[in-house]
Amino acid sequence: MNKKKTYPIYFAYGALLIYFVFFFLPGLIGVGYSFTDWSAYSDELHGVGFANFKTVFSSDENYLKIITNTLEFTLITTVLKNVIGLVLALLLTKSIRFLNMHRGIVFMPSVLSTLIIGMIFKSILDPKSGLLNSFFRSVGLDMLAKKWLVSSELAFGSVMAVDIWRGVGYIMTILIAGILSISSDYYEAAAIDGAGGWAKFRYITFPLILPTLATTTVLNVIYGLKVFDMVYALTNGGPGKATTEVLYTAVFKKFGTGQYAVGTALSSVMFIIMVFIGIYMIRIMTRNEVVE
């Protein structure tokens, strides 16, 4: 059988063309535009060298704060989603009534629109009439009724908390699949040797789901660095000056004010970082595939 004839490469042209033109090409020319003074206010383009990147990394602007915010968001949500996700996965692989229903409910926030989740939590976290503060007041814990999204100390934490609420079900589902793929022989052997619950987790479950945890970590990191929806919907970078601003809300604002060159420079920094993370990620994801 002639493979070249039976599997003609033009079958892949459609996907490659659309992907290249609408996805990869903007990334490439975006890097090019980062070295110009492209903006909404003039039709002519001038080369400005590294000026835009200097702006992005200079200490007198807010960008450094934005970058540290993005990294902080990524780190904290990654760790907490993994930890809570693991606890949930361990819990929901035990014998519990309505097991599938619980799994389904915890996963559900992952399929809802982030924008809608943002709107719902804006109401829940409202300092005066919000459900959370009303609950605290009704049980006499008034000191816990805080200004969640509107005070500069708590806003970023609140945004991260909502994002963890939204994303933890997805991580849990992946980890459940990982736990269920562990052969029960190990546990039986361990039980014969007299291992308790903790020992089984410490010496069997945990080491065997480490590869799965590596994957969820990478997924969370990619998501965290690219986060836009949740921040946009909840605080849009506020309150005050860039308290919760992350990279992609900053890019969107530069786009809105017509400062295209700075916007594309910020995007390009991300693009280049992501190419490297991406290559690592693809290696992990494709290692399991059958190669004939």
């Binding site: 039976t6 490469i9 892949a12 829940i124 919000g130 009303s134 786009f255 991300m270």
Partner: protein, 275 residues
């Protein structure tokens, strides 16, 4: 020993219920308040709505929020990207998996790299302007297709490898050309993967709002997610209406989730777990 076990079991069930409640309460909150009148919905609490239920809220929202038009838009964008994305992803995954030359493996890696890459929306405007696709349904559908092609190709690629090559060989001997081989023999075998890819593409497109935010200036073209957000901005004092709008926008997603949970879970965990 036995009582300790029972206590543990009860505790486990209790904790599971607490987690489920935390995930369900926001949805209950929206459902209850969508059925209240303006005054009682202002408190946004979990009290059950008093009778009579305010079904009229939904009609008000559909009229004021122009939901019929944005529902049509969302449907057009989602259906359009499902057809384009799944068809092209399946075609690409098929040849790139069956004929693994050095070049084809590189092309596959290049395509799949898009799973992690961010889109440069700012520079994308240049591309869309050049192609005269700014502010057009065609442009946004192609954009959604390009965003999801990498993952869907990856998803179907893994599945193609499980379809026996002997099938292709037999078909070729019987005189099948490459096109009929794919559409008549292989495509039907890929049904589970196609179903998963379709459901995921539909959901992702339905929920996405960033691209319309950048590229669709006119509100007549907005999908449901964006118009609900806009509605929220205008009627933020009428929580009963906002909740009704949110509920109507989420209903298709929740329905698909209930019906296609199996496909969604298998798709979203694909590649993440060994085995």
């Amino acid at each position: 020993m036995k009582t300790k076990k029972t206590v543990q079991a009860v505790l486990r069930n209790l904790i599971a219920w607490i987690f489920s409640a935390v995930c369900l309460i926001p949805l209950l909150l929206i459902t209850f308040n969508a059925l209240k009148d303006k005054k009682s919905a202002a408190a946004m609490n979990l009290k059950l709505p008093s009778l009579p239920l305010q079904w009229a809220n939904f009609i008000t929202v559909i009229e004021k929020g122009k939901l019929a038009a944005s529902f049509g838009n969302s449907l057009l964008y989602s259906a359009g990207s499902v057809i384009l994305c799944v068809l092209f992803a399946a075609l690409a995954a098929y040849v790139l998996s069956r004929n693994q030359t050095k070049l084809n493996n590189f092309l596959y890696m290049f395509l799949v790299l898009g799973i992690t890459l961010p889109i440069n929306y700012v520079a994308l405007t240049k591309v869309l302007q050049f192609l005269h696709l700014n502010n057009s349904a065609a442009g946004i559908i192609l954009l959604y297709t390009s965003m999801q092609l990498p993952f869907m190709t990856f998803l179907i690629h893994g599945f193609v490898a499980k379809v026996p090559v002997e099938l292709d060989e037999a078909a070729v001997i019987d005189g099948c050309g490459p096109v009929s081989l794919f559409f008549l023999i292989v495509f039907p075998m890929l049904k589970p993967a196609i179903a998963t890819a379709s459901v995921l593409t539909f959901l992702n497109t339905w929920n996405e709002f960033v691209s319309p935010l950048y590229f669709l200036n006119r509100s007549e073209q907005w999908p449901m997610t964006l118009s609900v957000y806009n509605f929220f901005g205008m009627y933020y004092k009428d929580w009963n209406l906002v909740c009704a709008d949110i509920l109507l926008t989420s209903l298709p997603v929740l329905l698909i989730y209930l019906l296609g949970q199996k496909y969604i879970v298998s798709g979203m965990t694909a590649g993440a777990v060994k085995g």
